[in-house]
């Protein structure tokens, strides 16, 4: 069953239309990735799902229509969005950042347990928990951003370019953790990524996006074998 289902989604910034009737789905428990060239509208798609831009079309989450609802309400339904550029609170400590991640689910489950879990996935954060987030390196900030998303105990995790600006080793580390999380916590993941090789290896389902439309979809391995994708995204 699809956890997230998007049909005919349109969105615009000012006078420029960015999404032109987009449809896709994220399976429950799976990892879905959206590939696409620079400027294809991938980031906008995630923002549209979260109610951060004005949209038209249908978005269903967990069987409920959610299009047009406020971002903060969607978060309460269990959608955690780790935005491009990470969106850390640079003037708050690492632990405060994590506590904020759990803000919308206040009451459900123990905060301490979740902090423990986050620190287990990302041991480096435990070392830095009293430090201001602004003093972390890029990789650590990305980990913090993912960890903050996890604190929500989300059903769906939206990851926007987690590899951006990160060293290969760190990218692999983060992807490894995302997979672990997906398996251990049964969190579904929607991943937008330039690093197609990594993304396709991680995901079980993939979409290819061009100028605001989905032009191809299939299982990750299917796309990996596809000529166009190979040439443009994988380079062999």
């Amino acid at each position: 069953m699809a956890l997230l289902e998007v049909r005919d989604l349109e969105a615009q910034y000012g006078w420029t239309k960015v999404l032109h009737g987009l449809s896709f789905a994220v399976e429950e428990g799976g990892i879905t990735t959206i590939l696409g060239a620079n400027g294809a509208g991938k980031t906008t798609t995630l923002r549209a799902v979260c109610g951060m831009v004005k949209t038209r079309g249908e978005v269903r989450f967990d069987g409920r229509a959610i299009a047009g609802r406020a971002t903060e309400d969607l978060v309460r339904l269990g959608i955690a969005h780790v935005p491009e550029g990470r969106g850390t609170f640079v003037n708050l400590t690492v632990e405060e950042n994590l506590r904020l991640g759990a803000y919308a689910r206040a009451g459900r489950g123990s905060l301490a347990d979740d902090l423990q879990a986050a620190y287990r996935y990302f041991p480096v954060l435990a070392e830095r928990k009293r430090q201001l987030a602004g003093t972390l390196s890029g990789g650590e900030q990305q980990m913090l951003a993912v960890a903050r998303g996890l604190m929500l105990r989300p059903k769906l995790l939206l990851l926007d370019e987690p590899s951006l600006g990160l060293a290969p080793l760190v990218v692999r580390e983060i992807f490894r953790i995302v997979r672990t999380i997906n398996q251990e916590q049964r969190v579904s993941v929607l991943l937008v990524e330039q690093n197609a090789a990594m993304a396709l290896r991680l995901a079980d389902r993939a979409y290819l996006m061009e100028t605001g439309r989905m032009v191809m979809s299939g299982s990750a391995s299917e796309l990996r074998e596809h000529d166009t994708v190979r040439r443009a995204y994988l380079g062999y």
């Binding site: 951060m52 978060v75 935005p83 640079v90 904020l100 919308a104 689910r105």
Partner: protein, 293 residues
């Protein structure tokens, strides 16, 4: 020596006033990221509310608490009604709206209550405390204590409560806060409510000293700005300390630097602040903004 101590003491008393208003300013800056020029005027409104309650025969502390409650709700509503339409507009637009609010409140108060100053009671004894040759106004001491109390309460609130944390987050990074499920608009409104509440405390502590009139806070607000700047706009404790420092410096300069005397005392106080800022551009206790390239 006595006069030095007496001047320091009276400087601390005046500085306590500056500090309490500065605290409200810093508070709203922390919680909403704007400097509210109407802050002082809101405090005056609160004080008039207290005055009306007292005049209607309410006992002091009942009126005090009622005023705090009314001020909190009032600040909250002001944000929701007046500020909300310009949420997301350029900072200066919000500043102008605050100035508009300032003149409206001032004018309406004058209209309702007239500009005649009104005596306002102090909850503390009238008789000064005398130690040696130095006199402490009982009200001054009490007011300072209450300011410190508010400060501690605030610190605890922002440091240890989830709501306090969420408010700080909302002010710093609204977009990310939304992604954490924080209702940013309401956080701002609560910030206004709290600042208004602190302003009410400041107003009720100031009014017995300077008497109540619609322009009561005009002069004080200037010093409060100076204090908050000196202490650092991001540090509530710094604001209070900044107030005390400004109060004392001003008195000592006025007393001991004769060619300046009292005529240029404000100018000197401002110059001191300017110098401090040049050495520490974010004030004594302020946090430097994080810059990343």
């Amino acid at each position: 020596m006595d006069i030095l101590i007496q001047q320091v003491v009276s400087g601390l008393a005046t500085g306590g006033i500056y500090g309490s208003v500065a605290l409200a300013l810093v508070m709203i800056y922390e919680a909403t990221d704007i400097v509210n020029f109407a802050q002082g005027q809101m405090a005056v409104v609160s004080t008039y509310i207290a005055w009306s309650l007292l005049n209607a025969g309410a006992p002091y502390w009942a009126a005090f608490l009622a005023t705090l409650a009314i001020s909190f709700v009032g600040g909250l509503l002001l944000e929701r009604i007046v500020i909300r339409p310009v949420e997301g507009a350029p900072v200066l637009t919000v500043v102008i709206v605050c100035i508009g609010l300032l003149v409206i409140l001032n004018s309406v108060l004058g209209w309702i209550y007239s500009y005649i100053q009104k005596p306002f009671p102090s909850p503390f004894p009238d008789r000064p405390i005398r130690i040696g040759n130095v006199y402490f106004g009982a009200h001054d001491v009490g007011a300072l204590a209450i300011t410190v109390l508010v400060l501690v309460a605030l610190y605890a609130f922002f440091r240890f409560t989830t709501l306090g944390l969420a408010m700080r987050a909302a002010a710093q990074n609204p977009a990310s806060s939304r992604l954490c499920g924080i209702r940013v608009g309401w956080m701002l409104a609560i910030g206004w409510g709290l600042a208004s509440l602190i302003g009410a405390v400041a107003g009720m502590m100031v009014a017995p000293i300077v008497t109540l009139d619609p322009n009561m806070m005009a002069g004080i607000l200037i010093y409060a700005f100076a204090s908050a700047t000196l202490g650092g706009f991001t540090s509530p404790g710094g604001a209070v300390l900044g107030g005390l420092i400004v109060g004392v410096i001003e008195n000592l300069v006025g007393t001991y630097v004769h060619f300046i005397g009292t005529e240029l005392k404000l100018t000197v106080a401002l110059a001191v602040i300017l110098i401090v800022l040049l050495v520490r551009p974010s004030g004594l206790f302020g946090r430097a903004a994080v810059h990343r390239v």
